[in-house]
């Protein structure tokens, strides 16, 4: 069993309005050290395989086809 953790976030250069709103809220709570906030989403997948290389290939395909919209989003895959 392999667990794949996929982190999806808006690309650099695409305005992240949720991140901006959260940053604003943190500011008003006086967390003044925060310089940037990006809000993304995390998809956790359990894969019935032990083959890490194949798992990486499969999850990459999943990201390209459905999990991320590559017009506006980047994704990072971590296998554990």
């Amino acid at each position: 069993m392999i667990k794949a953790i996929v982190n999806i976030s808006l690309k650099a250069g695409v305005l992240d309005s949720q991140g901006k709103a959260v940053h604003h809220a943190l500011d008003s709570l006086h967390f003044n050290t925060v310089t940037d906030v990006r809000v993304g989403k995390q998809v956790v997948l359990k894969l019935d395989t032990e083959d890490k290389e194949q798992a990486m290939k499969d999850v990459t395909k999943m990201c390209e086809e459905i999990l991320a919209n590559t017009v506006i989003e980047d994704y990072e895959i971590e296998l554990v």
């Binding site: 309005s17 949720q18 709103a21 999990l67 919209n69 017009v71 506006i72």
Partner: protein, 229 residues
């Protein structure tokens, strides 16, 4: 209204909620209509216009339109569009068409993060297409918007292409035609078409602007364009 022989097929996914408004709108214009459940694998014979209606397909899970693009019917929609068939995506339908790659760009969460539901004025940017041919460039129409993810994004190269090929259909403006951007869309874009000008998408709802008693009947002038195909 006069009867036409236009046949409009309207897609229905789980969560679609504008299919009956769309049906009403086109029947009011004299077209015959059929609602197509997403499990169907073919577009009805003789369809002149395929509408991907608004709503919240699959509860907007993952991203608006992201899951609908894998419904069985979408393969047929792509084939239909590739053969030059006319496709119109309204609101969630626009999101489904961008997710499917039938239209360029993507729809993000509104900049203000609010769901916006109100009448908005739009300016016709290009009318050299079947959809807006009844209107003139610069015309202003009053059409309701109702969306959470209507913030149109396209990268710079994509935007250049849109401009070069007259693919920008409508932009959000105020009553005087000056830019007024409700949701953060790039260049205040409210609707676009593909390069071939047979696939159209917009966030505003022309099918909800068919009766003056309901605030506006400007939708008639827009949807009428499809009648003379």
């Amino acid at each position: 209204m006069q009867k036409t022989n236009l046949k409009v097929s309207i897609l229905q996914f789980p969560g679609t909620n504008c299919e009956y408004d769309t049906q009403y709108a086109f029947e009011r214009l004299g077209a015959s209509t059929e609602i197509i459940w997403h499990k169907s694998e073919s577009i009805p014979e003789g369809t002149n216009l395929l509408v991907v209606a608004g709503g919240f397909s699959y509860g907007d899970y993952l991203r608006s339109g992201a899951i609908a693009k894998f419904s069985p019917i979408m393969k047929a929609v792509k084939e239909y569009a590739a053969k030059g068939g006319k496709v119109l995506g309204i609101c969630n339908g626009f999101q489904v068409l961008t997710e499917s790659g039938l239209l360029p760009g993507a729809l993000k969460r509104n900049d203000g993060l609010h769901f916006i539901s109100k009448h908005h004025t739009l300016k016709v940017q290009n009318n050299d297409n079947i959809f807006l041919k009844k209107l003139s460039k610069g015309d202003i129409v009053n059409i309701p918007i109702a969306h959470h993810d209507g913030n149109y994004f396209i990268d710079e190269d994509g935007l250049k292409d849109l401009k070069q090929n007259n693919q920008i259909l409508l932009t959000y403006v105020d009553n005087n035609g000056n830019v007024k951007n409700p949701n953060g869309s790039v260049e205040s874009i409210a609707g676009v078409c593909n390069k071939e000008k047979n696939v159209f998408g917009l966030m505003p709802h022309p099918e909800r602007a068919m009766e003056i008693v309901l605030g506006s009947d400007d939708g008639i002038k827009m949807l009428e364009g499809f009648l003379e195909s």
